[in-house]
């Protein structure tokens, strides 16, 4: 094989890969746009048409995940918050520590861990749920009754997951911060209780809006990818595990990419 042939093979491979990824991205964006368009065109926000589906999604994603999130919040509080506060005297000023806590716990670790839990629990559940519905002919039967699948099945999952991602990150962040402060105040220095007030005073509207937007985007992307993969199941049950794995890998990749882009946009 000549050098030219090898070069052609490599550029051909990378070119095809790039085109495939760009087309996938376009498909995802079209898919989510159509789902939300159909939902908004028919609904007042949360009316009976898809209200119960949205609430069910929020309960599954947000409420049922609370034990896991609480456990991770406690561990994170101990590992990060407690350690940072307990070494605060040698690390810098109180403001530096607070800035560090907000940046690490609230803007990085919190959203990321919540996203990982949602990807593994909700994302995979959505793929299996929609994939099975498609295989069983449930989706076809609903369409034959004049039901718009985007409106009835997809949009509630996307919106419910986005809201839940935000809610469980708030919950996780609170537990992680409070646990660390509490342990630090009890075992190192009681004056560390003051961090509660100081941190809460540091939540500026700018910071809160970044926090909200980041979490909503994470939830939106995870549910969109999962729904897209679920509906990609066509005729065989063997496709289900394949689509589930693909959904998890794609969601993780997107979360990393979006996290990097947002970090670059905010901090650089």
């Amino acid at each position: 094989m000549s050098v030219v042939q090898i070069a052609n093979t490599l550029t051909g491979w990378s070119g095809r890969k790039l085109i495939r990824n760009v087309l996938y991205l376009i498909n995802l964006m079209t898919f989510s746009s159509l789902a939300l368009r159909d939902w908004f065109s028919k609904n007042q926000v949360f009316n009976s048409r898809s209200y119960s589906s949205t609430v069910a999604q929020i309960i599954f994603t947000g409420v049922d995940a609370l034990p896991t999130i609480s456990f991770l919040g406690l561990i994170t509080g101990f590992i990060f918050t407690f350690r940072l506060i307990s070494i605060s005297d040698s690390l810098g000023t109180t403001n530096d520590i607070i800035h560090l806590l907000i940046t690490i716990i609230c803007l990085s670790v919190g959203p990321f861990l919540a996203a990982v839990i949602i990807i593994s629990r909700t994302g995979s559940a959505i793929v299996v749920d929609l994939g099975n519905m498609k295989l069983n002919g449930e989706i076809e039967a609903l369409e034959n009754l004049g039901i718009n699948i985007n409106d009835y099945l997809i949009a509630p999952r996307i919106l419910g997951t986005a809201i839940s991602q935000l809610a469980i990150t708030v919950y996780f962040t609170l537990i992680a911060l409070l646990t660390g402060i509490l342990i630090s105040a009890l075992f190192v220095n009681p004056s560390h209780f003051a961090y509660i007030l100081k941190i809460s005073n540091s939540f500026t509207p700018y910071f809160v809006s970044i926090f909200v937007v980041k979490n909503l985007i994470f939830g939106f992307v995870i549910a969109t990818i999962a729904s897209f993969n679920g509906l990609s199941v066509s005729s065989s049950a063997t496709e289900l595990p394949q689509r589930t794995t693909a959904s998890i890998v794609q969601s993780l990749s997107f979360v990393f990419i979006i996290d990097s882009l947002l970090t670059f946009a905010i901090f650089v």
Binding site: S48, S50, N132, G137, E140, A141, N144, L145, G146, I147
Partner: protein, 249 residues
Amino acid sequence: MTDSKIIQCRQLIPGKLSTGYSGKALDLVISPGEMISIIGPNCAIKSLWLKTICGLEYPLSGTVHIHGIDTLNLSAKDWSMTRIKVAYLHADTALLSAANGLMNVLAPAIYHQLDKKLKEGILAIKALKLLEEIDPDLDLDDLPAYISKEQQFKIAIARALLLEPDVLALDNPFTHFEIDSKHQFQSFLIDRIKKGLSLLITTADLSFVLNNSDKTLFAEHDKLYYFDSKQALLNCSIPAINEYIRLNS
């Protein structure tokens, strides 16, 4: 929109028929309270004709109008309306696996906001009454996976009827029925037809067709024959049809 023509097919030939089709194109009008049967030896061909008449399959040629609207040019709203007005079900129509019988019946009606048009709680009462009419012994509490195919189909029928369709299109509906329950269900269908519902059906139950059908289509792989009465069907001299009637009588 004319009330006397719920479905109107003009020069219709289904799109998925093989290239060997040499029969006539179908001109058919379905009016309220009519029963139209599609019979023949090949289930796939009958199903194809049924779905094409319902506007669920693209025709090779011709048009299908539902309440005056061409099914080839449907807006999203019209598409939803046509699917409600012409309810299509086959023997294995799936129910929502995560919902029990009653929720399965109510879910599409709630989606189409029939609960808003009725007073609170009336929709559920209406659904229960309908289910009682179809079969008083239906198991409405268990998930579809735990009930028989026959019960699943009856719940699917109730789900479609709660939306108040004009035409019920049934593809081989008696597949999962026992003899007794089949007759009971057929009586229910006849009762509905008398109340103005139109029935478009593919079935191998020739006695049901001969006793009740207003119009009959005999579909073969490459031909379609149309009969506007029971007598016309019994008096025809086409050997394939006579043989089919002899074997199924």
